[in-house]
Amino acid sequence: MAMTAPEIEALLKRAFPDALIELTDTAGDGDHWSARIVSAAFRGKTRVQQHQLVYGAIGPDMGGALHALALQTEVPA
């Protein structure tokens, strides 16, 4: 089963309470998502570390129930 936008957003909000989150259904099939996440939690981290934090927030569903999540992580200006 694919994950819905509210499910993905809830997982991200739990891990990054301060975050600005923009989710886009890139293929229109509810299975390929793009997320822009702006959070102070990313400050001082490499891109790999930032994305690892996001994957950690999604948990074991990443790559499974959540097939595709293109990520753009940013630190608040």
Binding site: R47, V48, H51, Q52, Y55, M62, A70, Q72
Partner: protein, 111 residues
């Protein structure tokens, strides 16, 4: 975390990374990627014009799961330069677009 010895697949991955300066773990092969994300990284590599080795994770389930554990990264493709995990599709594209990837390769003497 356990303190047990590395698994055979982790050792195998370590050997692959020690052997190839630029190594891409992907779905399919460069001439015929089986996934759009792997294809996107192949296109970046082609545009860079560097020689690289590729491992088709679809041909080896142990590697497919093992590489995710190795890098603590849940998705394929994964690009490594001199044994260092650089990123997946999004990061590779971002680094290519900004010129950082070319810079990194030059620094490592691979440009």
């Amino acid at each position: 975390m356990t303190t047990s010895a590395p698994s055979p697949v982790a050792e195998h991955i370590g050997e692959l990374l020690a052997t190839h300066d630029i190594l891409l773990f992907m779905k399919g092969v460069p001439a015929a990627p089986q996934c759009g994300f792997s294809q996107a990284v192949v296109q970046v590599m082609n545009q860079l014009g560097v020689r690289y080795a590729a491992v088709n994770v679809l041909a080896d389930d142990a590697i497919r799961e093992g590489i995710k554990a190795y890098s603590n990264w849940p998705t394929i493709p994964q690009l490594y330069i001199k044994g260092e995990f650089i990123g997946g599709c999004d990061i590779v594209r971002e680094l290519f677009a900004s010129g950082e990837l070319r810079q990194l390769l030059a620094q490592k003497g691979l440009g």
